[in-house]
């Protein structure tokens, strides 16, 4: 579930307000968006992928809040970690060699 928006990182672009498919955020004029409908979050992580400032954190628990803090997330380098994993951060991501990827093709 969406846990927090970092006021330090957020630039107020409101992309998350538009991109969230379940309309969790509300824009606030002159400020960062607010998490207005936390219980509607479906834990799809799309806000993290679309956020250009790596300012949001979605905890993997879809059923309850964890109460993780911004300081904990910064120290664990979790902000932006999913955007990097899918290759949307600057520099993209490096694909392992084809012979390694082909290991998944063997029938199981």
């Amino acid at each position: 579930m969406i846990e927090l928006i970092s006021e330090t990182r957020c630039t107020g672009c409101n992309i998350c307000v538009a991109a969230c498919p379940t309309n969790v955020f509300d824009a606030v004029k002159g400020f960062v968006p607010v998490i207005a409908r936390q219980e509607d979050c479906q834990t799809c992580f799309m806000c993290e992928v679309w956020c250009p400032d790596d300012a949001l954190y979605v905890a993997p628990d879809a059923d309850a809040l964890t109460g993780v803090t911004e300081a904990e997330l910064e120290s664990a380098q979790l902000f932006g970690s999913y955007r990097r994993a899918v290759g949307w951060a600057a520099g993209g991501r490096t694909r392992p060699p084809p012979e390694i990827m082909a290991r998944l093709d063997a029938p199981r």
Binding site: P21, D40, D61, A85, P98
Partner: protein, 537 residues
């Protein structure tokens, strides 16, 4: 049913279009694009955001991309034939393979980042969800389609003949209403996962089924709706492929006999249903682990964030209901252009029946992705042609077609939270949806029918509750079509498992058709061509 409002409906913003597409996932965007390329004026509405909404965008998916080599195509079709309970239609399988091949090649031309294989050629058998849907949004806008985001449709419009004439809904962020008059409408609203929080699926509440059902559309295969997908306990990432590498154990570490992701998931359901925890661990060598992490980063996302190494730690898993999203039931298709039984109304993607290509079983993924882009293409194409052929016709009177929760009624308004909870209480338990029995289906239906009787005269919802109210009504209607269809199939076939009829009955190699709102009915329709045709493909 409440009577349609006689006066011409109005809204804060109104558009006239040839084609209205409801739903902005893969099926909807392919439909909108194709209609626009045929010269149609197209509006696409999405209840969320076209580009992130639905099961595909957060997920990534394999795609049934098979080069046109007769031997490979025959193998691809045969591999699904028995799995699907011999209910697929070989002619449709062939045309889906053809269409998917062409569409995926188009995606490559558009710049989708397919990786290269060892021979330097692109590997086009899977699609990264975020990239795919961002690209589809971009192409849809560039084609001149008007996209309305955060604009849930609440009801269809119809003309005096009963043909569809557009739709109406709300713009939840603008706080006003929209109305689109159109000569053709494509339902691309996805399946119904009953708010289970399966990945990306909470927007998939059967809205399109309800709206089409209110115009008299028919359904096919709604008994094939018993899909559950595995996830880390309390997690949402219902990516099941890597559980092919898994061992499953009880809390004490002892193996669970017969438990497996494929052909053993019902053992896992029974274990969880009996209140026991199920633990998983993936057995893979270091190279496989590297490949897995790259192939599906979202599989590892929740595990990494809670500090679980799935290759060394045992971690608890759960099953989340995906119902018709990974099932195959949906709106009945009556021609090659994905027309429904309602004039002017088309269906694509998970909103439509996928029995034509998958029969009675799909694990989701590649076949659903192939079906979405193929059926979207055909629905958009035929909707565009149909609508353009009606251009210049004198203005027709249009009426609102929505019933419970959107039409005015004499009874109290619906409590959307309570309604959703009661429907979920019926459909989420494994013993209702996964393992079926006439006694439990009948008891469930009695409660669901009672719920329906209690809300059919409800007054229209207040603006702030309109979407949730209609979602609840849609889930209720969907559950009733699912369970009536499940009762009608007195055998086990594909994903449909009846404890009271565990065997397959060859006399029931037919489709179960369903429809109706106040009175839900079922009938049967013959299955398509015989199996020999597949073997000769």
């Amino acid at each position: 049913m409440a009577k349609p409002t006689p006066a011409a409906p109005t809204a804060s913003i109104e558009h006239d279009a040839d084609v209205l597409v409801i739903g902005g996932g893969p099926a909807g965007t392919w439909a909108a694009l194709t209609a626009a390329y045929r010269g149609a004026r197209v509006v696409l509405v999405d209840k969320g955001f076209c580009g992130t909404s639905g099961a595909t965008a957060p997920s990534g998916t394999g795609v049934w991309y098979v080069p046109p080599d007769p031997a490979r195509r025959a193998r691809a079709m045969n591999s699904r034939w028995d799995l699907g309970g011999r209910l697929a239609d070989p002619a449709w399988m062939r045309r889906v393979l053809d269409r998917t091949y062409a569409n995926v090649n188009t995606l490559s031309e558009w710049g989708h980042p397919f990786p290269n294989g060892a021979d330097g050629a692109q590997i086009r058998t899977s699609l990264d969800g975020p990239d795919y849907m961002r690209l589809m949004r971009k192409r849809t806008k560039a084609a001149g389609v008007r996209i309305l985001d955060h604009s849930p449709a609440l009801e269809l419009l119809r003309d005096a003949s009963g043909a569809v004439a557009g739709a109406a809904g709300i713009r939840r962020q603008a706080g006003d209403t929209w109305l689109v008059r159109a000569n053709a409408v494509v339902i691309a609203t996805g399946g119904c996962a009953f708010l289970s929080k399966a990945l990306g699926c909470n927007v998939l509440t059967g809205d399109g089924y309800l709206m089409a059902g209110e115009l008299g559309a028919e359904f096919s295969g709604m008994e094939f709706s018993s899909a559950y997908a595995m996830a880390l306990e309390h997690g949402s990432v219902t990516k099941t492929r890597f559980y092919d590498w898994a061992e499953f154990t009880y809390a004490d570490g002892s193996p669970i006999p017969g438990a497996a992701s494929k052909a053993g998931r019902s053992v896992i359901a029974r274990t969880l249903g009996s209140g026991k925890a199920v633990y998983s661990r993936l057995i893979a060598d270091p190279e496989e682990q590297v490949a897995m992490r790259h192939a599906q980063p979202n599989f590892f996302l929740p595990l990494d964030r809670v500090g679980i190494d799935p290759f060394t730690d045992r971690f608890p898993v759960t099953l989340r209901l995906e119902a018709t999203v990974r099932g195959t039931g949906g709106l009945r298709i009556v021609d090659d252009g994905c027309a429904t039984t309602v004039p002017g109304l088309y269906a694509a993607g998970d909103a439509a029946t996928r029995e034509l290509v998958c029969g009675a079983f799909t694990g989701g993924g590649s076949h659903n992705a192939a079906w979405a882009m193929s059926s979207g293409f055909w629905a958009g194409s035929s909707a565009g042609e149909h609508a353009r052929s009606l251009r210049g016709r004198a203005g027709r009177a249009v009426f609102r077609a929505g019933g419970a929760g959107v039409a005015e009624g004499s009874a109290a308004r619906i409590d959307p939270q309570a309604l959703a909870r009661r429907v979920r209480d019926e459909v989420h338990p494994f013993e209702h949806t996964y393992h079926r029995h006439a006694d439990r289906l009948n008891a469930s239906l009695e409660r669901l029918d009672g719920l329906w009787a209690g809300l059919r005269d409800a007054d229209s919802a207040a603006f702030g509750d309109a979407q949730r109210t209609r979602e609840g009504v849609a889930m209720l209607a969907t559950a009733r079509w699912m369970y009536r269809s499940s009762l009608a199939r007195t055998e086990s076939r594909g994903m449909h498992r009846r404890e009271d009829y565990p065997g397959r009955d060859e006399a029931q190699r037919h489709h179960v058709i369903a429809g109706g709102l106040d009175e839900v009915w079922t009938s049967t329709a013959p299955a398509h061509s015989p199996g020999e045709e597949v073997l000769a493909a």
